[in-house]
Symmetry: C2
Subunit: 240 residues, 2 copies
């Protein structure tokens, strides 16, 4: 957070996402916000412009600035996504995210099997070798795992796919750092735990891409995400 308005955006944005400002509610007018937060109207207006671009509010002359309903929110904005994940009340949002991943990541793997250059394949292979060395080491695994999935993703050559999955992973990682650490069984990597079984799940993906078997890569990546989903579901069963 560099400047005042970015700070304000975080502060107000969180209050909206967590429901401290209710949907349909009118925010205090610019002058009052300026008073409340001790900043100029300029800063307030720029903040509101940003929140408006995120789909969280809409300003109308004379009527004031209103909090928009959830369907209008720009969920894929990294800030919005992170705030939603931080919010304790949205725990099952993690499951929704996983459903999205279940859709996208297998497709990305299939595309990688189709489009990867030899150089791409080398990168994926390197990352997989690092995974092999990282059994039992949570930190090293998380790092190699990141590179493994990153290299597959890049080989999909679909910019929108790359951007979407990366956004999703960033949000998962940052929310893990902030709020999910407390859950003891939640893995450091957004994919899996550093075990032999997990390595095998990755091996199948790796091998499928190497032989350019799109359908197999699709299925094996789906297996992996399904595993992530079941970890999540177990956590909920045991901790609530």
């Amino acid at each position: 957070m560099k400047n005042r308005s970015e700070q304000l955006v975080s502060e107000l944005g969180r209050k909206i996402v967590t429901g401290e400002f209710i949907v349909g509610e009118i925010l205090p007018k610019v002058e009052e916000l300026s008073e409340i937060y001790g900043v100029s109207r300029t800063v307030i207006r720029e903040s509101l412009r940003s929140l408006s671009t995120m789909g969280l509010v809409r300003s109308n002359q004379r009527a004031g600035t209103v909090v928009l309903q959830r369907s209008e929110w720009q969920w894929w904005n990294l800030d919005v996504l992170t705030w939603v994940l931080e919010d304790e009340n949205n725990r099952d949002f993690l499951l929704h995210l996983t459903e999205i991943r279940m859709g996208l990541e297998p497709v990305a793997a299939a595309l990688a099997a189709k489009r990867a250059t030899n150089q791409d394949l080398d990168k994926i292979g390197d990352a997989f070798n690092r995974l092999k060395q990282a059994i039992g080491d949570e930190k090293a695994w998380a790092s190699a795992d990141y590179d493994f999935h990153e290299s597959i993703l890049q080989a999909s050559y679909n910019d929108l796919m790359i951007n979407t999955i990366k956004t999703l992973r960033k949000a998962l990682v940052s929310s893990r750092e902030k709020t999910l650490k407390a859950i003891k069984d939640y893995p450091e990597s957004p994919y899996d735990t550093p075990t032999i079984e997990a390595l095998d799940r990755h091996r199948f993906i790796y091998e499928a891409i190497m032989v350019r078997d799109e359908d197999l890569a699709y299925l094996k990546m789906k297996d992996l995400i399904r595993r992530v989903k079941s970890i999540l579901e177990n956590i909920y069963d045991n901790h609530s």
Copy 2:
């Protein structure tokens, strides 16, 4: 577009997306932009704040406002998505979008088969009946088709999924209106053409959801999107 800064955002945003402003380029400083577009610095600053929230630019003191690389863009912002689709140079972006749909829409259909209430099922049924009446009528088909897929989507009960697919469809529809009309074989609906064969493809999805067969709903929706993809690919083969 109501106010000056929103107009400016469209103007500048399009120039960035279409490459008129190159990645890494420094925009004219606020005072110059103010001069160029005949608006106050306030308006310029608010516009830049908005573009910054879209991930298109980043302002730095003394260094000016720089155009960010494509990987930083907020692709799921409806404006950004629309501008990209409008850009003639990004024609194969439609294929990338379809790859995303190939991932998400079958998952949404499977979730609907799992979670739909009886009321949801009624809505889906109503829309399907309207589809039956709309064979051969492009406009009526497009409308019923919209409601059919919308009712399935709502029954997925995954807010992020709903928002994402709706954003995607909005962008497709609006880009069809603006730039794709010229392509004669591109259907009015983002899903299919009003033919008997298309109706059957929809029927299979409808029936699978009715009997709550998640896997079948998944497969049949995948068939439908695959069909859309092949329409697109044919268009490219024939028109370029």
